[in-house]
Assembly symmetry: C2
Homo-oligomer: 283 residues x 2
């Protein structure tokens, strides 16, 4: 089973990329499970017709409240098959104000594993959509514990999204050596904020500095928002669009790319700012 | 000293609201300190000409690395006065992949307190800009430990921003009883996503359901982005604009409102969705 993780700044387009990637892989014939690892628990909303599916941690807490354990959970109460055939899971968040959200995500992943979700549904590809604004020990757990293996970072030409991606790369660098073999940075995806000239200039260099590859450019486009409004993936709702072709291309590239690296992030903020500014001045 | 906290979903406009509120309060004659409590450490960028000031936790880790403690930190290495006269602090984030980001924010706040920052600069109003996507024990600490007292939630007409605000209200409800007296929900601020009709319908009801007040409506406007591009607050860069008036109004309201409540969030997702849908159907 391939284990792909999509990390990046909040709002950069992780769930957009993840859900459209899942749908394209599904269309290619793979059996796909998408696991939202963001306390927002809305990763799979685009696949589920706009619906927020129940979250694993909520279901788990309900069981604990009545004195049961995780083995009292039925798989079909935490794994939901989208109309398109993609298996959807939302880890959920902690009880607000207490507990560790990241450790909660790990608990949810371990429940999936203990209940043999991946074997039961014969998953070929698992797509983990992971919060990237808080690069704490909690949210690094999917990497540390062998769930997130081939890590893709999503950024745009906006400096703060590159700063966030670089920070996540620092976590990947620290953790990948001790994580399972094959864990590491697999590539950089640009989800455009509209400034395409800047993006085609700065992001290839950023990828190079990380020791990785610039894998795909996704333009800013109303087609994506229109499909989101319908709660459907682009390849499902607009199958003949240019955007559908882009996601099919991304899916192919990801399945063909089995290389991961221990990234070499830029450790100094001033150096990162200078790298970025050079590309601003080129415009 | 008044201690105001701005919480809300990632990207909803916390830093926009916080920095423009700080500048308006400063213009009124108050001595203001804005403390970014988001690992993104970009809360005060709008006040500092686009600059990312050094983060407390980075400075602290540098000292620890050379065998020193927090008392080796000089206040002027963590508190930066903006051109407009606002004292700016960024808590910073954990070492990527390890540690607890929320506990790190608390450490940074305790350093400010131990070094007597508030007394030294004679702060009248402290504005805390706090991450709200992860409502974990870590990020609840500013509330638990007496820094965030008068809590304002920022949302738009977008369902997920209301969902996030409601989740934060659940944390406030749990924590405010045991926190310092006067800690609680102070009001709801709408930072518009453009859907003004929906917002003027759903947000007053949401505020009412929480037991709180709808305090201010901030329109979606290019003036805000133009000032951000200059790295300056609206009252500084566009002092005669309608938007400047809105932020001055918000500042006045916040200083006059000393009431906080233990909120009454909607605990059931289906109930929250139904509440929201009623207002959609009104359009
Ligand atoms: N390429 C794009 N073009 C247009 N809108 C986009 C694009 N990518 C994302 N969006 C929009 O941006 C918003 C945030 O995307 P989302 O995937 O939810 O971010 P994240 O999961 O990183 O928080 C969504 O409303 C989505 O429709
Ligand atoms: N009322 C508004 N009108 C136009 N743009 C806005 C408005 N509020 C925020 N923005 C823009 O939205 C983006 C996110 O705002 P920000 O304050 O950084 O969010 P947060 O701090 O919640 O993550 C910024 O680029 C900002 O310029
Ligand atoms: S480690 Fe991260 S998720 Fe866990 S409590 Fe701390 S900040 Fe929250
Ligand atoms: S480690 Fe991260 S998720 Fe866990 S409590 Fe701390 S900040 Fe929250
Ligand atoms: Mg998401
Ligand atoms: Mg912010």
């Amino acid at each position: 089973m391939r284990q792909i993780a999509i990390y990046g700044e909040g709002g950069i387009g992780k769930s957009t990329i993840a859900s459209n990637l899942s749908a394209a892989l599904n269309e290619m014939g793979y059996t796909v499970m998408q696991v939202g690892c963001d306390p927002k628990r809305d990763s799979t909303r685009n696949l589920a017709g706009g619906r927020l599916i129940p979250a694993v941690l909520e279901t788990y807490r309900d069981q604990l409240r009545v004195g049961k354990d995780e083995y009292a959970i039925s798989l079909d109460s935490i794994v939901f098959k989208s109309p398109g055939g993609i298996y959807c899971v939302e880890a959920g968040g902690p009880e607000p104000g207490i507990g560790c959200a990241g450790r909660g995500v790990l608990t949810a992943l371990q429940i999936l594993k203990d209940l043999k979700a991946f074997e039961t549904y014969k998953i070929d590809v698992a797509i983990y959509d992971v919060l990237g604004d808080v690069v704490c020990g909690g949210f690094a757990m999917p990497i540390r514990e062998g769930f997130a293996k081939e890590i893709y970072l999503v950024c745009s030409g906006g400096f703060m999204s590159i700063y966030a991606a670089n920070n996540i790369a620092r976590a990947v660098q620290r953790l990948s050596r001790r994580a399972e073999a094959g864990t590491g940075l697999a590539g950089i995806i640009c989800n455009s904020n509209g400034d395409e000239t800047l993006e085609h200039s700065v992001i290839p260099e950023f990828a190079r500095r990380l020791g990785s590859e610039f894998v795909q450019f996704v333009p800013r486009t109303p087609v994506i928002q229109a499909c989101e409004f319908e709660g459907r993936a682009v390849v499902e709702h607009s199958p003949n669009s240019k955007e559908a072709g882009i996601f099919r291309d991304l899916a192919k590239q990801i399945m063909e790319n089995k290389k991961t690296v221990v990234p070499t992030p830029i450790n100094d903020l001033t150096e990162l700012e200078q790298m970025y500014r050079q590309h601003l001045n080129k415009k």
